[in-house]
Symmetry: C2
Subunit: 328 residues, 2 copies
């Protein structure tokens, strides 16, 4: 059972009469005749964040992962609705800390809370379960869809890849890092940086876009699938931070290390496509939004997403190249 | 720690810059310059429904409790976003059953799924946790708020009160009922009937409205509080079904029984206020929407919500007259 099969087979028939729902194949939907873009994400302690993560950081991550969906569509956020199912023994101070995190990021991103529901679990072991529904306005040139890429389009990604995954390994002590690297990687895991300016600048320029939440290869694959194409990613071009570069240098198998970075989740970068003729425009958009953008591959005929080594041969990728809730 | 204090003290400051959020004091919010009404409810197995409830009924209840919020505001539903955190060992057949329930009620209420997120719990004992964000269009005469009642307004409620609470007692075998009564009461617990037609007919006529989810007294109290008034409910006028009437007849203490009905949750009726001069219009609206409506009391100066016996003396009410997640 795969998360994507469940959505495609079981839930997407329920959206067939809503054109703005895009058959549930996109990061967000259009409602009110396209006047609003809406997205919804669920976050569970122990799945999407560590049970011991400070709740102000959890709140900010909840905001940011949702903003990342809006960013990929080029939308400008306005506000959100919040659903909380608190652990049975939650203390008021913890809820206040959570709200303080919300407040910080509401100010940072100029958004407001509009409503929601706050409830308490009755089962003792039940984890904090959060849900947020964010809305915003689409860019004037229309939202960037997942499905608009053409054969021969370049594939790009913002920022650096794999840091959040390494941050998680650092926080769970699965791997060791220097103090400086650990802090920067853990920061990427706790506080993603939604690429709102870049997403807005790419509206009408990118042919397709998606935010990287499951893993670069997996999400490039979602973009490719929605566009009826194949994504070929040149492993050496994958942008990595200094901390990730040190980690790779210490690994015995370089390609396997790159594949691991490109398969780890929580990057919240934007992967997008644009025709080769638009390379200068992409550079301009990246500069205007002060966001690093790297060209990492091509969209071709075929299906799936593959990682290629410098000889153009396929690199083996763990577990489908990303996270799937229903495959563990 | 009370659910309502948490919302008022901790969360409502986060909504101060959003006029459509009504300080989180209403069932729904207005977004997009009032073009859309949005509401969000969370439902947890073991809290809002029984862990063994068939998942098609759970899906339909999720839809209906949200529609009930829209109904109280007079809004016309369009669609929804769905968040699911499934138990770790969920079977595909169960998800399919859940989707079948969604499909039935989507057709019944002419709404569509627009998006969402489906995830899996990692903790074994974690219960199914659902969240839905519903949106619709406001009535032309504007949404009915919680806060518009005036001194001297009549207080009304739709349908019958306390059936869902008795249904829960029947399902958990806390009380015994005849087979016929049990079926009808359990039906009220499993499948509330959102009063969409009545809510629409009351737009511009009711001065204030709220749906009864926590309990009649508690929710009348929320309406009164938002309006800066006191709700006085005449216990004998509380509308009850034949099954509830049999149950009351079998109780040793009649007033206590009435207080229990008026304090039990999950009715999903609409309680609303209107000036005495509008009694005929209320009757017309009730008839037009084919919904029973009963006049049950008055709004007066003061605060709180009280249940009065036939001598006008206050009847003792259990646990604040309704359900509070954070007081157990």
């Amino acid at each position: 059972m795969s998360e994507f099969d469940i959505i495609a087979d079981i839930f997407s028939p329920l959206a067939k009469d809503a054109p703005g729902a895009f058959d549930l194949k996109d990061d967000a939907a259009l409602v009110d005749e396209g006047a609003l873009v809406i997205t919804k994400d669920v976050m569970i302690a122990g799945v999407h964040f560590l049970p011991k993560d400070p709740l102000d950081l959890v709140a900010r991550k909840l905001i940011r992962v949702n903003l990342s969906d809006l960013a990929a569509k080029g939308a400008k956020p306005i506000g959100y609705f919040l659903g909380c199912a608190w652990p049975a023994n939650i203390k008021r101070e913890k809820i206040e800390l959570f709200a303080a995190g919300l407040k910080d990021d509401q100010e940072a991103f100029r958004i407001s809370l509009y409503g929601g529901d706050t409830t308490l679990h009755s089962v003792k072991a039940a984890p904090l379960t959060l849900s947020a529904t964010f809305f915003g306005t689409p860019p004037r040139r229309g939202v960037t869809r997942r499905s608009g890429a053409s054969t021969g389009d370049d594939l790009y990604v913002s920022g650096t890849i794999g840091d959040a995954g390494l941050g998680l390994k650092a926080l769970t002590k699965e791997e060791k890092f220097t103090t400086v690297d650990k802090a920067s990687l853990a920061g990427r895991y706790h506080l993603p940086d939604p690429r709102l300016s870049l997403g807005a600048a790419l509206a009408g320029l990118a042919t397709a876009a998606i935010d990287v939440s499951d893993g670069l290869i997996a999400d490039a694959g979602h973009l490719a699938k929605a566009s009826g194409l194949r994504a070929e990613i040149d492993a050496v071009t994958i942008p990595r931070s200094a901390a990730a570069a040190s980690w790779i240098a210490a690994q015995s198998h370089r390609w396997r290390a790159l594949a691991a970075l490109a398969s780890s989740g929580d990057d919240y970068e934007i992967v997008f496509s644009a025709p080769p003729a638009m390379r200068r425009s992409v550079t301009v958009a990246a500069k205007a939004s002060r966001t690093e953008v790297s060209r990492i591959g091509t969209l071709t005929r075929g299906e799936g997403a593959v990682l290629l080594d410098e000889k153009g041969e396929e690199v083996a990728v763990p577990s489908g190249g990303g996270f799937d809730h229903f495959k563990r």
